[in-house]
Symmetry: C2
Subunit: 224 residues, 2 copies
């Protein structure tokens, strides 16, 4: 035996199928949920008690599997009332759900963010809903896509940031070389605590509100 330690099952087609796209995706999310776990097909196969090669019967490649996961994620983000609320209100809960949804799967954020999105019906539908709401609310046509992408970039960057250890900027250890940063960091952490939020969450809420404010104002701040 070359790979697995437990032969579990003899060769040949099982009487009833062991795997299915849904079962594989569910196990893939379980694996991606474990921070620091190697997101490998081999580990996934172990959890499913099959050989790695069996997975290729349902997903042609690892990228293909990740694309499948991404499709499910888009569905999980949900609608968020773009039809009934102004876009700049609905977008808040959408962005929060988006961040939480991808943030819940640390083992795969980078892959999700990096992999090209060739024709993904799920995401397209999501964006269409937002674009329609913005158009309805009179947002300048040529700014709609930039605004959506800007928000998405912020959300993805924030999700990545929340992966880092909470004390990411660790000026505590650098109070001598970075006095201003250290003071600001303490003030920020104290404020977040008073709001009952982590610094990560407080930063996200603050930044998101700022971004939406600026996008509504037309983004004609400076330097453009």
């Amino acid at each position: 035996m070359t790979t697995g330690p437990e032969p579990q099952r003899s060769a040949g087609r099982p009487r009833t199928a062991v795997l299915s796209p849904e079962r594989i995706l569910a196990a893939a999310f379980d694996l991606a949920d474990v921070r620091g776990a190697d997101f490998t097909l081999a580990a996934l196969a172990r959890n499913l008690e099959v050989r790695p090669s069996a997975l290729h019967h349902y997903f042609a490649s690892k990228d293909d599997l990740i694309a499948g996961m991404r499709g499910q994620l888009a569905r999980r983000i949900g609608n968020h009332h773009f039809e009934t609320l102004p876009w700049h209100e609905a977008i808040f809960s959408w962005a929060r759900a988006y961040r939480l949804t991808i943030g819940a799967h640390p083992g795969i954020i980078a892959a999700l963010a990096t992999l090209p999105v060739d024709d993904e019906p799920e995401s397209i539908v999501d964006y269409e809903r937002i674009a329609a709401a913005m158009q309805r609310d009179g947002y300048p046509e040529h700014r709609i896509v930039p605004a959506i992408i800007a928000i998405e970039s912020f959300v993805i960057g924030s999700a990545l940031d929340s992966l880092a250890p909470e004390d990411n900027l660790r000026p505590v250890d650098n109070a001598d070389i970075a006095p201003h940063l250290t003071r600001a960091e303490h003030a920020g952490r104290a404020y977040a605590a008073k709001q009952g939020r982590s610094l990560n969450d407080e930063t996200f809420e603050f930044g998101l509100a700022a971004l939406i404010t600026g996008l509504r104002a037309g983004g004609t701040g400076h330097g453009a």
Copy 2:
């Protein structure tokens, strides 16, 4: 011979050292610049015409090498006149340089964004400069770190986004299911072209200006 096809050099210590941290880092950036190239120690070793194991003499692990690259990147971003300009002006060129610097190395963005930043003097110095300028300009103490992290999240998210193919939201192929998005995408692309920018660049500039505007306004837009 197990690994390399050309033995190049016989075993034993070379008379004059072949490698150095600087030479390895330079080759690592060259490798990371090639889009789609596998950023592996094996490929790096091939380019340097050494065996992979030789690299471990200078960098304990692959993560260690990436940390070294990150340190060099922070230095490349540069100062950007936070001492002489208001923070909200200096931050524009800093953010642009940041995005270009990490965006120039597609093969490694994900790793750069994902890897924990335990004590990185280079970045700390960078943040200290920004924090000092914001404090000097009267920005609320407890908002300084959230504002910096929000900008950084946006920059990193934008850099990742610029990795995707230019026609990322590809409503062209989906004009039937996403009419609003399709129209908005065309309008956005036409506007960007008129500015002599790619849609990616236009989106970044627009989003950055919006974010800075909102951060200056206090980010008390909605939903917070």
